[in-house]
């Protein structure tokens, strides 16, 4: 009888251990070239090839929270309130479904009910991404733009300040005067190295189908100068990014510059900085700071000792990759001189944030891949949520050269930036 009891005890312990081990295995595993098949169908093929070749090791995990619920409250509310409320014109401008008029203000995201077979579905997914960035309020970030080469490893860093202010989507902006009908405005100012310091750019984006207005400040001529919007697919500051490779959906131009189409849906791995939400705290000025230190150190692959020609230097090894539901959207530029051809976007159905963008050249051959590492922020009381596109990376597959934008130094949401900062005089005042 005693033997029988001992046997039951051993069996019970073994079952508990097996469950625990299984749970751990399901919770996190590292996928590399030895088991890359595990990720088939969960990454764009070009990215899967990086794992297969040994360039990338994926920390495949699940998140301890639902990112679709760690969103600003007005976004969550808009998912119910805005169903069927808005539609698109022929030029892909947003109008009220009931009246056909442009809305005075849109709370949260405009199209919570995107359908796979909606011919305007692609454009709506992109609009949602624009409004998702707006919903995070004015941003004041310090960005490190890092350059990498396969052979050269880490090359250099450009340090910038980024400021953006939404006039739509962000509930506290509802009462903000908006006589120019802006959707959002933004500024980027280079702080170092010295040869580039002082270079600045300002963009005015409109709520209509009007062309964006661009201004640049060039220290060499010491004045604000109008820039042509035609350069939006031109290399930005010599990097692998073009101006349009930005924002929460990896596209930062006007929606009507492209033909958009949803070409599928499914699950892909999305990059996150941690399995937990990042702690956000209110600073003395009342703005919300992301405290990335609580997420542990960010480990770049270039920082670890590598054997010669093994692995690539441009990955964040400490990031986690979790399955997320996505729309797969195709974007084709209308401008025959645009430098990119077809682009495929993988955009979260619930958070409206992009995880991957695969870029072809104008002849249809693969050229670049862009991916994100997100940080979903929440305060200690879990009552306030913000979202940060903490790190984005773009890889030029032909040149084997990459550029990363890293917002780890300062990422601040819900900032009450003054509109005057984004006027011509305000822009001039920011410059040298």
């Amino acid at each position: 009888m005693k033997t029988h009891k001992n046997g039951i005890m051993v069996l019970a312990v073994m079952i508990v251990l097996a469950i625990a081990t299984g749970a751990l295995a399901a919770k996190e595993q590292y996928v590399d070239k030895s088991n890359w098949e595990t990720l088939k169908g969960l990454m764009p093929d070009v990215a899967l090839n990086w794992v297969k070749s040994g360039d990338m090791v994926v920390r495949y995990s699940t998140l301890d929270y639902d990112p679709g619920k760690v969103l600003p409250e007005w976004v969550l509310e808009s998912k119910m309130e805005n169903i069927g409320k808005y539609t698109l014109t022929e030029n892909k401008a947003i109008v009220e479904t009931a009246t056909g008029n442009p809305p005075r203000f849109i709370k949260g995201i405009p199209f919570p009910d995107v359908k796979l077979n909606d011919p305007d579905g692609g454009a709506k997914v992109i609009w949602n991404g624009f409004y998702m960035r707006n919903a995070n309020g004015s941003l004041s970030n310090e960005l490190e733009v890092k350059f990498f080469g396969r052979k050269t490893g880490y090359e250099r860093t450009i340090l910038c300040d980024w400021f953006s202010k939404p006039f739509d989507g962000y509930e506290p902006a509802r009462s903000e005067p908006n006589p120019n009908n802006f959707e959002s405005v933004n500024q980027i100012l280079i702080k170092s190295p010295y040869d580039m310091a002082g270079t600045a750019m300002m963009t005015w984006k409109y709520r209509t189908d009007k062309e964006n207005m661009l201004y640049g400040y060039v220290p060499a001529i010491r004045r604000v100068r109008r820039l042509t919007p035609s350069g939006r697919s031109d290399a930005l500051f010599g990097s692998d990014y073009a101006q349009d490779d930005g924002g929460y959906v990896a596209y930062d131009g006007a929606v009507n510059y492209f033909n958009w189409k949803i070409i599928g849906e499914g699950e892909v791995l999305g990059g996150f900085i941690s399995t937990k939400p990042t702690l956000v705290t209110r600073n003395k000025a009342g703005h919300w700071d992301f405290n990335f230190k609580n997420d542990g150190p960010i480990q770049w692959s270039f920082e670890k000792k590598r054997e010669k020609n093994s692995g690539a230097p441009w990955f964040v090894d400490s990031a986690v990759w979790a399955k997320r539901p996505v729309w797969i959207v195709e974007g084709i530029p209308k401008d025959i001189y645009y430098n990119y051809g077809r682009q495929i976007f993988y955009i979260d159905k619930e958070t409206h944030c992009c995880y991957w963008k695969v870029i072809d050249d104008r002849t249809g051959k693969h050229w670049k891949t862009l991916w994100y590492y997100w940080s979903m922020g929440q305060d200690a009381e879990k009552t306030v949520s913000w979202n940060a596109m903490l790190i984005t990376t773009i890889l030029d597959e032909r040149m084997q050269h990459a550029t990363c934008q890293d917002g780890n130094r300062r990422y601040r949401c819900g900032v009450d930036l003054n509109s005057n900062q984004f006027s011509l005089s305000g822009f001039t005042a920011l410059c040298k």
Binding site: N180, A197, L424, S425, T428, A429, K432
Partner: protein, 493 residues
Amino acid sequence: MKTFRYWLFIGLLITGAMIQGKAFAISFGDEGALEVTGKIQSRISLRTSGSEGFTFPDVAKGNMVQQRNLAMIELNHVLSRQSETMPEFKYHVKGRFLYEGVYDYGPEAFRDLRDANPDVIDDFKHDEDLWELYADYLKGPWFFRVGKQNLSWGETDIYQLLDRINPLDNTFGGAFEDLDDRRIPIWMARGMYNFGNVGPISSLTLEGFWNPGHAGQEVAPFAPYGTPYAYPSPPPTVPVRLHEPEETFQNSRAGVRIQGVIDDNFNVALAHYQTIMDTPSAVVTIDPSVEGMVAQDLTYETVQVTGASMNFYEEHLNTVFRTEVAWFWDEPVFIPEINAPALFGNFVTGEIPKTNVLRYMVGFDKNFWFRLINKKSMINMYFQYFAEYYTSYDRRQKVPVNRFPAGEFIDQERYEDKYTLLTSTTYMDGTLTPQVALVYDPEGALMYIPSIEKSFHPWIFKLSYYGITGHDDVSVGILRDRQQVSFQATLVF
């Protein structure tokens, strides 16, 4: 002192190399990052043409004419950032350290020049200066900047119309140097107020500045005879006396500008200001206290400028058009019979004649893809047409530069024009920049400056050629014997 400067520069170079191109940042609380950046630069220029005419000293082809060592250290500190409720305070400090080595270890002709005139040349060849120092205050529509600073108005590059607020240092490299590198910061109070949207105009902004004239005016330095970038002239036969402006309120630099955006496309500005001419006006003076009783007096005259500028984007052509017009009220001109009657046997002191001058520019900026030569970056092209017109023209008007060999002054035409073109692109992830700049005077002179810049962070290397062809009595052609090749190494952090 010479040794000290040498070691100071070497020390800066070593320090720069040790910090490996990284900017310093020291954080103070939530905002106040204090950042230090800078550059250490060395440039050598060799003449590719032998001296001709009145150019002095006589420098043979292949000889060094410039060995400039420059360090700029900049400090920026944001004390508080602007928000809806908080003003922004920040300050900026820049130090400049310059040492021109050509007078110490250059060709014998330059060393002799220094030996003959040590005070002037020693002062000219080095500089340790608090180059910029200003504080900013921003609050809502208000902006103030007070301190030693640069201010540039208008739309033009290369040649200045409305952009004549700061004096230019033409001893720094003359026409062979970027315009901005020649600007000399001056003590100035500057303010802006943004009215916002008024009728069809958005971002309507009123701006004003004042550089007090009664507290020591900074003027454009005059290139001493014999220095590499002085205009060719025969050696002065009478004493030359340089007079800086009197320290009076009337000699202030000051102005206002109003600008805005019309119809969300047309950036328009109207401006009026008073400045001080960069080139001093010459008169021949009869002065019994001077040996020979004759002297040449050079004075810096004030001038008032009224003008307007505009730019707009034309979407069908994918082009930004720029234009600027400026009216110079009573600008000093040179009429030898009036400025120097003694040259014509009339032994009385000369006067400075003045006339109104109209100057304007029409230009465009065009970025385009030319994938045959660059698949990743666009080609940038900036074209400008400049013209000037003397409204009350006197046929005796001259340019105060002597024609070789007889020494007569060069004619000043009533209407003159020039074309400029700058084209560039980038390769190798922005680290390789080829560029070509052209200045063409239809009267028969062309300046062409091909250059290539490559950076190996934190080092930047630049090779430029400055070629000039055409008549030696036409604008840029006057310097046609100064053609040079320059190599520049810069360490940035």
